[in-house]
Each structure stands twice: as C-alpha cells, then as structure tokens.
Amino acid sequence: MFGRQDMLFAVEERKAKKVSTTLRRLWGYFNHYTWVLLLVAVFVISGTYMQVVIPDLTGQVVDCYLGPFAARSMIGEMTPPAGFDVAAASGSAAAAFSNCWYTEPNLMATSDELLQGMGRLLLIIVAIYIISSIVTGIQFYLMSWVGSHVLRDLQAQVFEHVHRLSLGYFSKNEAGDIMSRFTNDTDTLQQVFGFGLVNVVQGALLIVWIVYTMMSKSIPYSLVSLITLPLMFIATRWFSGQARKAFRRARKEIGAVNADLQESIAAVREVQAFSREEENIEQFRVSNAANRDANIKAQAYTTALAPTLEALGYVSLAIVAGVGGLIILSGEPLMGTTISIGLIVTFIGYTQQFNRPVQQISVLWTNIQSAIAGAERIFNLLDERPDIVDKPEAIAMPSIQGHVCLEDVHAEYNTGEPVLRGINIEAKPGETIAIVGPTGAGKTTIINLLPRFWDVSRGRVLIDGYDVRDIQARALRRQMGIVLQDTFLFSDTVMNNIRYGKPDASDEEVIAAAKLARADEFITKLADGYDTVLGERGSGLSQGQRQLLAIARVILTDPRILILDEATSSVDTRTERQIQTALDKLLDGRTSFVIAHRLSTIRNADQVLFLKAGEVVEQGTHEELLALQGHYYDLYMSQFRYQGEGEGSNGAVRPRQPNPTIQPILS
C-alpha cells in the first residue's frame, strides 16, 4: 500500500497554528459517524491484539511441543540404564527450553499426542489469522467510508460557502488560492482520513503493546532487544526530513521545466518562424538537467530509508537470537525469567513487526500535520462571513419596470477607503446610462451595486422604489442581464452555454437568441454546431465570438435591466460591427447601465456620467457634455488631437474621417 513512498514525502508540509481548535472542529464532522468510529476503534484494538498474540503463540508451539521433544529426542532415545530417571533427566534438560504457559508440558507424551496438541494450537493460530484479516478488512473499509464521507461533507460545505461569499472576497483573494485549498488540502485530508490516521494510531498502539508484552516477559531481555527501536525512529525522522527538504527544491525545478515546456510548445509557431528551435532545445536541456539533479538528490534520501530500517531489523534479529542464546547457554534464568527458545522465536516475531509502523508513523505524521494545517485553512475560508445575505423578511422582486435610482450612494471595499462618494443617478424605464471615466473612478463599483454584488455603505439603491437590500438577491438578479468585459464560458456545449441563464429554454429559443445576437453564423460553422463542446474557458473561440455568445445568453433571459461592460479587447472590424448591432438590439427598450468605450454607445445614451475619483463630475447627454467643455470635452478632444497628428485633420469634430467618397455606410 505504500509503494509510492516518494509521493508521501512530496506532499507539501505546513504547520497549523491552532491545532486543538482545528482538531475539535474536525471532530465535529466525524460526530455523525460516532458509532462507526467506535466500531473502528474496537476493530483496531482487537486487530492489534491479534498481531501481538500470534508471535506469542508461535513461541508456545516451540516451548510446549517442539522444545521438550527436541530435548527428549536427544536424551530419551538413549537406552537408559537401570535406575535412571529419564523423566527427571530430560525434565531438567527441557527446563532450559521451556517457557510454556499454553499447556502443561507433558514430557512423556507420545509423538502423536504432541502432534495433536500442536495441531490444536495451530488451529487457534489459523483462526486468529482469518479473524484478523476480516477485522482488518472491515476496519479499513469503515475508515475509508467515514473519511470519504467527511471529506464530501466538507467539500460540499466549502462550495456552498463560496457561493455565499460576496464578490468583495474574491477581489481580495485569488481564485487560485481557493482552488488550491480545495484540491491540495482536501487531497492531503483524503489521504489522512482514508488510511493515514488509522494506520498511525494502529501502528503506535501495536508498538506500545508489543513493547509492553515484551517487557512483561522479561524486562532486561526486552531492553536489549529493543535497542534498535529508537534508532529506527531517529533514522526515519532524519531521512524523511531531508527528503522533504530536497523535494521542496525539486518542486521548484519541475516548475521551471513545466514553464519552459508550456511556453515553448504554446509558442512553437513563433519559435519556428524565428528559427529558434536549437536555442530552445539547448535551453530546455539546462532546466531539464537541473530538474533531474534535484530529483536524484531528493530520491537519494527517500531510497536510503527503507534499506536503513531493514538493516536495523536484521541487527535486532542478531541481537535477539544472539543475546537470547548466550543467556540460555549460561544456564541461569535472567533476573528470574527463564529465557527459552520459544521466547527467542516470539521476540524475533515481535522485533520484525516494528519496521512498518515506525515507517508509517514517521512519514504520515508530517502529512497529518499538513492535513491539520490544510483543515485550518479550509476552516478559515468557512469562517469568512458573507457580507451579503437576504434579510429574513426579504420579498421576492415583482416584475421589474426598470426605474433605477441611486440616492446619495457611498461605497467602500475597505473601511475608510470610499470608492464612491455621494452618487445620485436616476434612470427611467428604458433609458441607457453611459458611464465613462478613468480607471479606478468607480465605474465597476456602480454596476456591482445594482445586482447587489456589493452593498452601499451609505445611501440606497432603489429599483422600482424597492431598496435592493429588501428584496431577495436571486429574484433581483433573475431579472437583470449582465454582460461583462471578459466573457466567461463553461466547458459545456454552445447550446448549454447560451441557455445558462434560462435552463428550461428550448433549443429553438436558444437558436433564436443566437440569431438575434449574430452568433448563429459562426456557431453553425463550428464542428458540431450548437453541440460543440467548448474547451476550457471557451478556448477555441475568439474574443469577439465569446462576446456574441455572452450577448445571446443575456438576450435569452430577456432581462428588464441590463448591465454592460463594453469590451475593449480586440475584435476584427467585422465582428465589432456584429457585436454593435447585437448590442443595439439588446439595449432597446431596457434600462441599461453601460461602462462605455464606444463613441456610438455614448452618443445614443440618454445620459452620460463622467466619473472621477468616485464622484459624478459631469452628467448629461453627449452634446450637453461637449458644450460644457469640461472633462468629457477634454477626453473627446484628445482623440481628435491625435487624429490630427496622424493623418492631417480637416477640422471635423468626428475623430476619424475616412475618405468621404467611400463611406456611405457610416453615418
């Protein structure tokens, strides 16, 4: 079960800060399974008992049956002269071998009687072997069962919690970090819950029990026999410590190799275009060689451990047999205990059992620590309080008309650092509000307030007169459509991606929405049309195509309020035009808030807000704002200035002036 030792060492190690609290909480998850755990405990104890009792019984086979016989066969076969008490003579000889407690040694028993007696004892041993196997099997199964269930419960809880957390949490914490808590930490937990913990407990119990049993038979002989046990622990700790350190270095090197691979394969076309193959190959050789060397070093420690323990095992074998033999030969009991051949056999059996648990305890111990630290990190995540929760009396939002009011709205992500200050906006049903302004002015915050991704710190956001905090967030969001700059697609079919906001939509509805969004054209050209499964995050589609899908997705939900972050990223002119047409259709008749990057959007907007440092500094239509000659005017004119520098200006206000003879389309 432990073939992949290096894997165990390769686990990243961490230390928990609040071990006892974390353990108590972890225990809470096991609480439902108390009965199963009790059963496991019973099995662990009985299984360990059987492991302890078997070497003892084996020794009894020797001491009760074989030892006396061996002695008798040497002496008893002699023709005893008259008057010689064979029983007494062989008895005294046999005393040197006997430590028999299983039965009254019968020196005069015939071979058949001995065989029968030994057969009965061996039947007991066989029975114990069989029961012990069954017990081990059931115990392993129960523990894995509990471990997997606890892990599942924990994972489900984390996932649900992630969805309760407000978006503010995600702006502060990398998705990758949460992901790693989830995958790495639960992986370690799985290992520990599954078999690690139980193995360590059972191993420790076994060692203690064996040491106790040995001591109860003969303290001095045990002490001598156990000399290698601490050495085993020390060796294991040292080697595994070194191995972990070395693996930490090796992980870095493999990271470099992967980065090299990733880059050179992803950009293979550039590499070939610039004939850089040979240089790259050479460069890869270097990082690859560094990785090899780091790994060889790390493996050196790992591979040294097992032979060391094995060697120590042989050393204790020599000590047990040698010292035991010398004591027997001395003919004196050792401090009141008779050392018998059977006892030597028993002790050999015991010392040979140390290897595995010692290794398991040392190796898994660190992993258990990492798992506790992992659990702690998971609990930290679970302790993160969701900022946005529906009030208990929150009402389901009735059908939205689209009247949106922001009244003296303040917002902050971190206390004391206002992002919005006293915003007042009123959008009548069907109006389009364009928001412009420099990065960091608070544009995104405004649109985050409407679907209650974030709450105001002062003031209120009213939709059709309802404060958004008084209505159920779900009901509110169901009636809003949101198109973000970066389109997120799921690795699912195109059909299901469009259907995302309205799971019950028919295929026809989806296709109709795609047609309205001008996405139908490229979708039907995909290998499997609407059934094409999109790769990771929609890879394989261009940015523009992904935006069209996002638009189709929103069209399908037919929202009353639309929130749109116009994309700045590159699309070719034709797609750009298609997106524009699709958006126009989408905006039509809905209250819309748009973070605008296109002049056409701004022009068509009913209101333009110029945001600066969290405040609305200018508000009005495009023409009104131009007439103000303020920020918006500057922004607008700066475009014009660069245009002039570029192609020679003819003084028109329009930033770009294509050849007038060929532009009937644009107006």
């Binding site: 061996a70 065989l115 057969g119 072997y129 997997s148 060889i296 033999g325 412009v436 570029g646």
Partner: protein, 635 residues
C-alpha cells in the same frame, strides 16, 4: 490528440527500456549492487539457523554434562562423542553464537548499503532516462511542423512530456528494479528452501500461484477503478474551477442552486468511486495477507511435524519461517509492479507516438543554404489542403511579388489569406504547385536559412519570459545592445521601454499583464526589424490600442515595409491604398488582382469587402485613452 486505439503493447515499453543502454555503467552497477544486497539478505536466515541450532545442541550437550556422572560417559558415546569433546563444544558455543551474531550485523550493514546503492542507482538511471526522453520529446515537438501542432493541443503535449514521462520513469526506476529484485529473491529463496528441506518447501509452493493469480486479478480490477477516480476527481475540480473563475456569471444569472446541485452530483460520484475502491482494497489486501499468513501457519505445522519426526531442526524451522517472509514480500510488490507496468506501457506508447510522428516539413536531403535574397516571391499554381482528401484551402493560386513590392491580401475569414502567408516560410508545404523565392523552390533550401530571411509580425503577439531585450533579440540572440535599441526606436518602442524602471532588462513574464497589446505589438515589430529580413509577412491589424498608439504602430509598420518584399493581410485602408498589388481572395481562389483604383471600378467583390471590412467604426478608445486625456487636460 486521440488516444491510441490499440491496446498498449509492450514493444514501446521495451523500446523505452532500451534507453538503459545509454547508461550501461550505471545499469550494471545497479544490478551488481542488487545482487550483493540480495545475497546478504538471503544469508541472514542461514546464520539465524546456525545460532538457534547451536543454542539447542549446546544446551542439550550442557544438559548431558549435568547428568549424573555414571551416565555421562554412556550418553556421550551414544552420541558418538567423548566427554572432553562435548565440553569443548559447549565452551565454544558462545563464541560461535557471537561470531554468527556479528556476521548478521555485518550482513545487515552490507544489505543496507547495497540496497541503498541499488535503489539510488536505479533512481539515477530512471531520472537520466526521463531526462533523455524529455529532451527528445522537446526537440521533436519544437521541430514538428505546424500541421502537427494544428492537430495537437499544448496541454496534451505537455502531459506527455511530464506525466507520461514520469510514469515511465517510475516503472524503470522502481518497477523494473523491484521486478528484478523480486525475481532474484524468489529464485534464491526457493533454492535455499529446497536445499534445506524439499518436503516442507512443497507445502509452500501451492500458495505462490494462488497469490500471484490474486495479484493479477487485483491489478485488472483496481486499474480501471483508479482511472475512473481520476476522471471524477478532475470533474469535481473543473466544476469548482469554473465556479470560481465564472463566479460573477453564476451570480448574475442566479444559478447558485443549480451549480450546487451539479457540484453535489460530482462529489457524490467521486465518493461512490472512492468507496468502491475501498471495498476492493478492504477485501483484497487482507485476503492476500491472510494467504501469506496461512502459509506461515502451514510451515509451523508441517515443520513441527518434521521436527517431531526428527527430519528438521528448530533452527531450520525458524529459517524457513524467515524465508517465507522473503517469498511473500516480493509477491506483495507484484501488484504494484503490474500496475506500474500497465501505466508505463500506455505512457511509452504515447511518448513514442510523438517521437515517431512524421514531420511534414523537413529539410530535404541536399537542401542548400539560401544565399543573398533579392526578394522575388512567386506562387505558381499553388493548391493546398490540410490533409489528403480535404477540400482545398487554396486552389491554383498564382502571383508574383517583385523585390520590394507590397502585396495586400484581402478576403473574408477562411478565404485563404493566412494560408498564403504560411506557405512562404514553409510552415506548411504546398499540396500542388510551387512557391518560389528568387526562382528557387522553397523546398530546396534549408528551413533555417529560409526563415532567417523572413520577418513575421502577426496579430496575436506572443512574447517569451525573459527580458524585453531578449524578446527583441529573439531571432538574433547575438545582436548587440545598440542594434536592439535601434530596432526598438524604429518600432516606436524605445520610449515606453525606457520608461520602465529596468528599461530593456524589464522581465516580460512579470510585465506580461502590464504590457499593453500595443506595446507587445511594437516589441514584435522591433523583433522582426532586428532580423533585417528581405521578406516581410505581416498582419497589419492593430489590436486593442488607443488611437495614438495605433498611429505610432502604423508608422513603425510603414518603416518596416519600406524596401522589403511585403505580404500583408490588410485590415487598414492605408495599407491597401499603398499596396503595389492587391489580391482579393474568396474560398481559396484569387478572384481579383490589381491596384486599388482599378479594382474599385472593376471588382464588385473588392468594392464590397472594401466597404464592409475596411471601414472601421469610430471608437473612443479605451480606458488608457481616457487616462491619457486627463493627464493632458491637467498639463
């Protein structure tokens, strides 16, 4: 990349194992260490037997000495010894036991040292083979033509160079040596057992095939279970990943309950599979241990019988029981070895699939170095299809670009523009016809010399980790700093580069996100300029840049094209207007050819494309532009 359909055969595996031949000395040393380690291991029970038998006989003899004086002599003669002999032997016994004990300790040391040496050498060997395989894979992947990369994704190729190589390495480093060790230990043990007592050995033998059979069964049951658990695990991770990355979308569409449900299904399926594996394990492992233990019990009983029958000594009996452990130890590893081998075999197959892949574009034997290039490019009846039997992407395309001319390619997506530019540097080879450079077929010259004369600027700029300087000098690593700066200046990149604190030494990897699309594009232009190519291939669209940058880029591009033969996928009016030749493509054919004025009059297709594609929407630009405007307003 489709999984190879055939069952993993062991030919690939043995081919991988043959890599061992590259390190013959390490391999031999590993085997030597293994033999010594095994010999030491096999000797230990012999000595233990010696100790125990010695104890028994000495104790018996000692008891003879304790007999009443009148019987001593008689007992001794019956044993064929005289009393002084017995006395001497009893006196010698402790010495023998101590010596045997010390030898065991020495053997333990030898075992420890050589087992370590064996494992360490095996690891070294396997790491070296992984190193070689990875190098070979990397080199092959770097050289494989575009057509191969079109069909294979980066991630898939990555997996082969990492996971598959690692699996193969594990087998070679652990599995192979374990198998060899197991074999030697099994054979050695069997020989010793037979020599000691063949009848008792026969008791153990039937257990062996039983255990081996069980392990095979285990292997075939467990393997698919593990594959399935991996699959379900990655499904769980995908769902989570998507929910984190797309959390806004999930919220916006209020899909949390459905996502929760989806996740719940995922983790329940994973749980189910894990419990299923636990069930198999909890049956199989104890069962196998039980069989091994029953073997021990059988030895105990039948050995005991023989002791009573007088044909076995107690020492031999103990030796047997130690050897039986050796017998089952390798068996316990067998299951592991088998599963390693199955995985390694499949991995080896996937690795060699790449190494054996035919490269569509290679230097032909006797290809010549391309000498000074004038820059005349001719397409002569060129047709191209991605694979035999597919629809042609280009059909009968013929045109000639004179040295220094600019040829603009126009056409809708999929009309064949990209294919034309891909054929010139031989990213693909023509299916029919010829591409000629200065009258020479591009297939007759070496790839390196051909590509060094062609500069390429594409729409999607890929930069590499390393400094900005490294990136500009990408095609000519030996360029001087002056040359790099000159190229950057010509590409209008010098200004923004020097505005970074570290200037040209700014690492691109870290800057990756902060380098804007326009900045990246200008670095790409500088990169092409530095090559000073006679031929230029470019896609003149400027992506995601504000007007000011766009203007700079355009100027840089104009500079770049001057005096070079340029083939341009045209997105811009000015390019088309200035082109010496315009090729209008539709469905892989040239449907019109000429200069702007002529075409506008004579070609309806051109006029349509012209109006629909080249007219750009008026844009306000992006955030950057707004910030810029504010800065300017404050001045």
């Amino acid at each position: 990349m489709q999984m190879s359909s055939s069952r993993p055969n062991n030919r690939s595996l043995s081919r991988a194992i043959r890599y061992l031949g590259r390190y013959p000395r390490v391999a031999l040393a590993a085997i030597g260490a293994l033999l010594i380690a095994a010999a030491a291991q096999l000797s230990v029970p012999q000595l233990i037997q010696r100790i125990i038998d010695n104890i028994i006989s000495s104790a018996t003899q000692a008891s003879i000495l304790n007999l009443p004086a009148e019987f001593r002599e008689m007992a001794a003669t019956q044993l064929g010894l005289d009393l002084s002999g017995i006395q001497a032997e009893v006196d010698r016994a402790p010495g023998i036991i101590i010596t045997a004990g010390l030898i065991v300790i020495a053997l333990a040391a030898a075992r420890g040292i050589f087992a370590f040496a064996e494992n360490y050498l095996a690891q070294t060997l396997s790491q070296n083979i992984a190193f070689e395989l990875r190098n070979d894979l990397f080199a092959k992947i770097q050289r494989l033509s575009f057509s191969y990369h079109d069909k294979n994704q980066t991630g898939q190729l990555m997996i082969r160079a990492t996971d598959d190589v690692e699996r193969l390495r594990l087998f070679i480093g652990q599995g192979l040596i374990m198998a060899l060790e197991a074999f030697i230990l099994l054979t050695g043990t069997m020989i010793f057992l037979f020599i000691t007592n063949w009848r008792l050995t026969l008791v153990v033998i039937p257990i062996l095939p039983l255990a081996i059979g069980l392990f095979f069964v285990f292997g075939s049951i467990a393997q698919p279970l593990f594959v399935e658990v991996q699959k379900r695990l990655s499904q769980v991770n995908t769902t989570l990943q998507e929910n984190l990355a797309g959390i806004k979308v999930v919220r916006a569409f209020a899909r949390e309950p459905e996502e929760r449900g989806r996740f719940r299904v995922n983790i329940d399926e994973l749980l189910e599979q894990r419990v299923r594996i636990a069930r198999v394990f909890s049956f199989l492992f104890p069962f196998i241990f039980m069989i091994a233990n029953l073997g021990q019990a059988a030895i105990l009983y039948f050995g005991g019988r023989q002791i009573i029958g007088g044909t076995l000594t107690l020492g031999e009996w103990q030796k047997f029981s130690l050897y039986v452990v050796y017998l089952f130890l390798p068996l316990a590893q067998l299951g592991f070895i088998i599963s390693l081998m199955a995985q390694a075999s499949a991995s080896a197959e996937r690795i060699f699939e790449i190494l054996d892949a035919r490269n569509d574009v290679e230097n032909k034997p006797g290809a010549v170095e391309l000498q000074t290039v004038q820059g005349e490019i001719e397409f002569r009846d060129v047709s191209f299809r991605y694979f035999a039997g597919a629809d042609p992407v280009l059909a009968d395309v013929s045109f000639t670009a004179q040295p220094g001319q600019t040829v603009a390619l126009l056409g809708s997506t999929g009309s064949g523009k990209t294919t034309i530019i891909n054929l010139i540097p031989r990213f693909y080879d023509v299916s029919q016809g010829q591409v000629l450079l200065d009258g020479q077929d591009v297939r007759d010259v070496t790839l390196e010399s051909l590509r060094r004369n062609i500069g390429i600027v594409l729409q999607e700029t890929t930069l590499f980790s390393g400094t900005i300087r490294d990136n500009i000098a990408f095609g000519r690593p030996e360029a001087t700093d002056e040359e790099v700066v000159a190229a950057a200046q010509a590409a209008a990149a010098h200004e923004f580069i020097t505005s970074f604190p570290q200037g040209y030494n700014t690492p691109v990897g870290e800057r990756g996100s902060t380098l804007s699309g326009g900045q990246k594009q200008r670095i790409a232009i500088a990169r092409a300029l530095l090559l000073n190519p006679q031929i230029l291939i470019l896609d003149d669209s400027t992506s995601s840049v504000d007007l000011r940058t766009e203007y700079h880029i355009q100027k840089a591009l104009d500079k770049l094209m001057r005096g070079r033969t340029s083939i341009v996928i045209a997105q811009r009016i000015s390019t088309v207007l200035n082109a010496d030749q315009i090729l209008v493509l539709d469905k892989g054919r040239i449907v019109a050819q000429g200069v702007h004025a002529d075409l506008l009059e004579n070609s309806a297709v051109y006029a349509e494309i012209y109006y629909s594609q080249l007219e750009e929407d008026v844009t306000v630009g992006d955030e950057e532009q707004l910030v810029l405007a504010e800065e300017l307003a404050e001045v």
